[in-house]
């Protein structure tokens, strides 16, 4: 048994020693091996190192697929400026040109360059950009185009969601600041109740009315100092309630915007910004 073990260890050592011939055979710096390694890193989602290896490969061999993958890697790392730069390098006659155009526009979109996208669409009218062009309206304050024109560029199964977002953008469920102020002026805390902040509204009403009552009863009992003191405290809460209704309306509206953009961004991420997904790692 011991002899067998000894043989098992020693025979491979004799048969497969590392020598210059084998090192030459597995030349890790050959273009093919660099590309293989880069592809491996890309599929392992080690994008930073994959970019480095692809760049090394491109410096030896002119390859659009590798340049495209560098763009994708940058996009997946969230560096949309760099990804746009790489997608733009894909040549006109490349089979990836149409895909790279779509990725280029998506990168600009994700980099929030909405006005640049609008300009490109108006100047060149590329088909790949149509959907993203309309979506830019959700992120700018420009007036929305008619709904029919807006949704016709999207597939039937997307139209309902896009229409919902269109309605939310056109008629957001904002609350009116002036209404909240007026309500709190008439009944302390009513403005907060209008903003669905019931607890704050009730507390403001109780605080103002309680100290108001204390002031009234003290004035009636000829305790003028205490009367004025409680009047001051009541006025403090009353003023706070009116001011708070105004500021709470702004926060309420900011929450509406936040929720809208969170939902919209999740939807666009799910749809991959209407760019077909490429699986290079099958």
């Amino acid at each position: 048994m011991k002899i067998v073990l000894l043989l098992l260890i020693s025979v491979p050592i004799i048969l497969y020693p590392q020598n210059e011939i084998t090192i030459g055979y597995f030349n890790i710096n050959s273009p093919d091996n660099i590309k293989k390694f880069a592809n491996f890193l890309f599929c392992e989602k080690d994008y930073l190192r994959a970019i480095f290896e692809y760049q090394k490969y491109i410096s030896i061999v002119d390859d659009d697929t590798s340049a495209f993958k560098i763009g994708l890697a940058y996009s997946r790392l969230g560096n949309f400026q760099k990804s746009a730069e790489w997608f733009k390098t894909i040549k006109e006659n490349s089979k990836l040109r149409s895909y790279s155009n779509q990725e280029y526009y998506a990168s600009l979109f994700r980099n929030k360059e909405y006005y640049l996208l609008k300009k490109i669409y108006k100047d060149e009218k590329p088909n790949e950009l149509q959907k993203l062009y309309y979506l830019t309206y959700f992120f700018t304050n420009d007036s929305l185009p008619p709904i029919i024109k807006f949704i016709q560029s999207f597939a039937d199964n997307d139209q309902e969601s896009i229409e919902n977002f269109y309605e939310l953008k056109k008629n957001p469920a904002y609350k009116n600041e002036l209404t909240a102020i007026l309500l709190s002026t008439i009944i302390p805390g009513a403005g907060k109740i209008y903003l669905k902040e019931y607890g704050d509204g009730i507390i403001a009403f109780i605080a103002t009315s309680l100290f108001g009552y204390l002031a009234y009863s003290n004035f009636n009992a000829k305790h003028n100092f205490r009367g004025w003191l409680f009047s001051g405290i009541s006025a403090f809460f009353y003023g706070g309630s009116i001011y708070g209704s105004a500021s709470a309306t702004q926060i309420y509206n900011a929450r509406i915007d936040f929720n809208f953009y969170s939902r919209l961004n999740s939807y666009l991420e799910e749809k991959n910004y209407f760019v077909p997904e490429y699986d290079f790692c099958k």
Partner: protein, 157 residues
């Protein structure tokens, strides 16, 4: 052959010894007693008890806040559920706006402080465990409002 095997075992044994000698466990710190400080940081130490202000309103406000800190808050302890605390909120509000608007902002904060309901659904949490409610949200400047959802834990002010 037996002799050869003995020699082979000796080589393995020496190798093992060498490995143990060269690569001993060095992470003793992992098992040693940890020096942890259980002292809580006191906000009193971060407070600036000065009367300096850019205008008369700020000086008046600082007088009130310092008196509150010195006679009540420092003795009573760190009890405000918000970050920044109500007195610091008042101080910052007046600094950011003026004595009149700052007082109204403080009155609103004080009212909200008395409300024990729905706080968890309303305010994000600060890393200290308090509810994060900075004065920038209340200066009536829409550009300053960056909504933070309640699920977020804010690390720095």
């Amino acid at each position: 052959m037996n002799c050869m095997m003995k020699y082979f075992y000796k080589v393995i044994f020496v190798n093992l010894l060498l490995c143990m000698y060269h690569f001993p466990q060095t992470d003793y710190e992992k098992w040693s007693k940890a020096e942890i400080s259980y002292e809580t940081t006191s906000i009193n130490r971060e407070r600036e008890y000065s009367f300096k202000g850019n205008n008369a309103g700020e000086v008046v406000m600082r007088t009130f806040v310092n008196a509150y800190w010195f006679f009540i808050s420092d003795v009573d302890g760190d009890n405000c559920p918000f970050q920044p605390s109500c007195s610091s909120f008042f101080k910052e509000s007046v600094k950011m706006t003026n004595i009149f608007q700052g007082t109204l902002m403080f009155a609103d904060r004080f009212t909200r402080d008395m409300n024990f309901f729905d706080r968890y659904e309303h305010y994000p949490r600060h890393i200290s465990g308090r509810f994060y409610d900075p004065p920038e949200l209340y200066v009536l400047d829409k550009k300053n409002i960056s909504f933070i959802p309640p699920s977020v834990v804010v690390k720095d002010e």
